[in-house]
């Protein structure tokens, strides 16, 4: 039993969003504020009815709604000639597949076609029509009339259900801890309870009840009650001390989880995370499936603990569906880049949708650079370290000495793999500039980037290179010197005198300096980077920075 797809409408930062999930591990990668946590939260909410560990019914606020939608709605009612809109609603639709789910099949879904699943709608309740009418007539709608809203769960078979009936249970493991009144952690109690078979749950609650009754039967308590009864002349009625036998799930809120004799919420956050995950992984029930929602495990785990957690997940994730949000390349890499879902501007891209070659290329790669491209606002792709330094410096010169990364522009050296990165950039619709040498063959270069130039040019991708093919007589080691790389171009625009001054050398001939720069690329680039004198940059680098 798995969740195949989740559709979210008007919930927090998502006006309309849908994400497809695979069996096993799914890794959600995205920048801060991209909505990773919101996705986990929404799924958990739809499956359990819990928001921050409390029941949604008591937690309804206008802030759950997408801000833009609320503004549009309020504005539409205020506008004299605008078309007024009805009160907006939140929809979280969960598409499932697996055995024994026939009951959840039907066409009551946004696709209007036979499918299997459930949805949660937080919508205006028809019972309040007249109150709402009054409100609208008076023109007093400043925000969503949340007091007239209620959450409703329905299966795709139009059957009103409660989250309890949903056979997929979710365990939400995050850094925050939500506690019951007695301090015990909401989620750990839930995870433990969901591991229990019905018989065991009954046994616990019975044992708990017996314990309370035994307490009441204690002689000391009875004596005290007799005394209270005789002395309390508050009313005609019988006054006595008793334990609370009324609440339904008393044992859950009263029992505490201990780890090596220490209350669960007193142990370290990292350890809590590991224990919760392991418990959730241990969930084995025939008729139910378990979805583990793991929020940024790297946040409170040391490297070795994180390693331990990931190994545990990898070893036990069989038959489990896991959704991990992260911005740690380590996590992404370890759990397998194939399961990576990139979250970008309200959409998702899966690494597995990339061409097989590109995918396997990135899988072999450290993973670090992929995430950099995903997480930055703009990227400048360069060939090597020296290009990186020079481009950074050029950027700083143009932008009041600010490093590009401070503006969330990442300069990434990609070696010869420009096209692979461009494939991802295209999928992500990410603004990217490529800074490349023409290597004395502009035509070949244009051929290489033909998919990004002229009539095929993409507005988010700029290919920057020098259109001039320079040449000269210099040969090094019997080979013709390449006049069309960064260093000779730098020398060309700065001139011999200025260049030696920047590099702090005393070369008197151009060829001599070419030789020196070629064999000391990084050294030269560092000198440029640290230069206090004015450096002139080739136009194509300036183009890339633009």
């Amino acid at each position: 039993m798995i969740i195949r797809k989740v559709k979210i409408e008007n919930y927090k930062c998502f006006k309309e969003f849908s994400i497809e999930l695979d069996e096993g591990i799914n890794i959600l990668v995205g920048d801060n504020e991209s909505g990773k946590s919101t996705i986990l939260e929404a799924i958990h909410l739809a499956l359990t009815g819990l928001l921050n560990g409390r029941y949604l019914k008591n937690e309804l606020t206008q802030y759950l709604f997408n801000n833009e939608v609320v503004t549009d709605y309020v504005k539409s009612l205020k506008d004299k000639d605008g078309a007024p809109k009805g009160p907006p609603q939140i929809l979280i639709e969960v598409f499932m597949s697996g055995d024994n789910l026939a009951e959840f099949e039907g066409d009551n879904n946004s696709r209007k076609a036979p499918d299997c699943g459930v949805w949660l709608k937080i919508a205006f309740k028809e019972d309040y029509k007249s109150e709402y009418e009054e409100l609208v007539k008076n023109g007093n709608v400043e925000t969503i009339p949340i007091e007239y809203y209620e959450p409703v769960w329905e299966s795709f078979a139009r059957d009103q259900i409660t989250p309890r009936t949903i056979p997929i249970k979710s365990a939400f493991i995050d850094s925050s801890s939500h506690r019951y009144l007695n301090g015990s952690d909401v989620y750990i109690s839930r995870i433990i309870r969901e591991n229990l078979e019905p018989k065991e749950v009954v046994d616990i609650s019975q044992a708990y009840r017996r314990m309370k009754e035994a307490f009441m039967a204690e002689e000391a308590i009875q004596t005290i009650n007799k005394r209270i009864k005789s002395s309390a002349k508050i009313s005609e009625k019988d006054v006595k001390l008793s334990v609370d036998l009324s609440s339904r799930n008393a044992w859950e809120t009263s029992l505490m989880t201990y780890l090596d004799g220490i209350p669960f919420h007193h142990i370290g956050k990292g350890e809590q995370c590991i224990v919760k995950t392991q418990l959730a992984l241990g969930h084995k029930k025939a008729k139910e499936a378990n979805l583990i929602l793991l929020e940024e495990p790297e946040n409170h785990l040391s490297h070795s603990k994180l390693n331990q957690l990931i190994s545990t997940i990898k070893a036990n994730c069989e038959d489990k569906q896991i959704l991990v949000s992260t911005h740690s390349s380590f996590v992404a890499n370890k759990l397998g880049l194939g399961s990576l879902i990139l979250l970008n501007e309200g959409g998702t891209v899966r690494l597995k949708e990339l061409s097989p070659e590109t995918k396997s290329f990135f899988e072999r790669l450290s993973g670090y650079d992929t995430l950099r491209l995903i997480l930055c606002k703009k990227a400048i792709l360069v060939e090597g370290d020296s290009d990186e330094l020079v481009v950074q410096k050029a950027y700083m010169t143009q932008n009041q000495n600010k490093l590009p990364i401070e503006d969330r522009i990442d300069v990434i050296s990609v070696g010869t793999s420009f096209l692979r990165f461009l494939e991802i950039a295209e999928k992500l619709n990410k603004t990217v500039s490529v800074v490349t040498d023409n290597d004395g063959n502009v035509a070949a270069l244009k051929k290489k980037y033909e998919n990004y130039l002229n009539d095929k040019s993409k507005c988010n991708i700029a290919i920057c290179f020098d259109e001039t093919e320079d040449s000269g007589d210099l040969e090094i080691g019997g080979k013709k010197f390449n006049y069309n790389t960064l260093e000779p171009k730098l020398l060309k625009v700065n001139g011999l005198k200025a260049m030696t001054a920047i590099l702090g050398t005393d070369h008197t001939g151009v060829d001599e300096l070419h030789r020196y720069m070629k064999s000391n690329k990084t050294e030269c680039a560092l000198k440029v980077f640290d230069a206090t004198r004015k450096v002139v940059y080739p136009q194509y680098i300036l183009d890339a920075i633009e």
Binding site: A102, E103, E105, G106, D107, N108, K112, P114, F156, A157, R158, D159
Partner: protein
């Protein structure tokens, strides 16, 4: 083996108990127990609890209409009708009247006025159109409705199957063709209600429903022998009930308990009060129009279905008296069923109010005083 079984049972032969025991035998799979009336649904639940203390997880008890609504209409409703259906309205007689032409009703057609044909103005589906809607939905979705149901329930057991008619039977036919194991129990003699009055399958309504299953295209195994022992009524009552339906297999009584007032009694109207005082029978009448003794409990024949009393006192109609005197005289099918139900409610004694005069020798009866 045949997946579908029909058991024709006599009144008091323990239909419901039989069905419940059959259902409780299955520990694997999911079983749906359904029946037409809410009273009988409650009876089934009560029986399950009597035998098993609680309703097992794999057994669901649901009325026929609620089954049709939940699994027939709602899942694939979108294929036929977009608006939200607000529930069900019980109708007697054909629903969806457009207007009257010289006191004769003209109905909304399905094709032209789809919504008005099936629904009230506030979008409740007419009970007589409910099974029709389900069949249409199944057609439109190329069998999704039945396919889905067959993946939810492994067994569907239907009690009081004689209450079904019209499109209900079309829906039954669909069930027979799928992999669900069905067990139908009913007493065609007790067909006082039917779920609808549509023209579809009219010839199979009421006691003739048994013939529906003789249709060779329907794959069902009919059994008229298993449930013929009447555990409830004393032999005198059982015999009288057999005479109402001579075409059926005779039920035999195994209630040999004697209370001192056992059998069928003719009671003169003048001594009704005294009779009521002495034996406290349940008064049974054809309809609310019949005036009964206010100091004692009264029920309509239809209402009493599925219930059991030690003694009953019947306010008969004229045709019934005529039949009592001469079994060959005409008695309409519905009336026949109603009297069959009324008589077979009693364990020990049936009183029939009749100023018999000299007619003291009516077959199977004894006069009171």
């Amino acid at each position: 083996m045949n997946n579908n079984r029909l058991i024709v049972a006599a009144a008091g032969s323990g239909k419901t108990t039989f069905l419940v025991n059959e259902a409780l035998r299955w520990k694997e799979g999911r079983i749906l127990l359904t029946t037409f009336t809410q009273a009988n649904e409650a009876e089934i639940i009560k029986k399950i609890i009597e035998i098993n203390k609680c309703i097992p997880e794999n057994i669901t008890v649901q009325t026929w209409f609620s089954l049709l609504l939940k699994h027939g209409v709602r899942p694939y409703q979108g294929a036929l009708f977009e608006k939200g259906i607000k529930g069900l309205v019980l109708t007697s007689g054909q629903s969806g009247v457009k207007y009257y032409s010289k006191d004769n009703p003209v109905y909304f057609g399905e094709k032209k006025d789809f919504e008005k044909h099936y629904f009230t103005d506030n979008l409740k589906i007419y009970s007589d159109k409910l099974p029709k809607f389900v069949c249409r939905c199944n057609e439109k979705t190329k069998g999704e409705v039945i396919d889905r149901l067959s993946r939810i329930y492994s067994h569907i057991f239907i009690d009081e199957v004689q209450d079904l008619s019209g499109y209900d039977l079309e829906f039954l036919k669909l069930l027979f063709k799928c992999k669900i194991v069905t067990l139908l129990v009913g007493d065609p003699r007790q067909g006082t209600y039917s779920t609808s009055n549509t023209s579809k399958n009219k010839r199979f309504s009421k006691s003739r429903i048994v013939h529906f299953f003789e249709d060779t295209s329907i794959d069902i195994e009919a059994d008229s022998d298993s449930l013929t022992i009447n555990h409830r009524c004393v032999p005198e009552i059982c015999t009288l009930s057999n005479r109402l339906f001579p075409g059926f297999k005779k039920a035999t009584s195994d209630n040999n308990e004697r209370t001192g007032h056992d059998g069928v009694f003719l009671v003169k109207s003048g001594v009704v009060a005294e009779y009521l005082e002495t034996y406290s029978p349940m008064q049974l009448r054809d309809s609310i129009k019949t005036v009964t003794n206010k100091n004692h409990r009264t029920m309509n024949f239809g209402e009493s279905k599925g219930l059991v009393f030690d003694r009953v006192l019947i306010y008969p109609t004229r045709p019934f008296i005529n039949w009592l005197i001469d079994n060959k005289s005409d008695l309409a099918q519905t009336s026949r069923s109603k009297f069959y139900v009324a008589i077979t409610r009693a364990r020990y004694s049936v009183g029939i109010i009749y100023d018999y005069g000299n007619h003291t020798d009516i077959l199977g009866t004894v006069t009171f005083k």
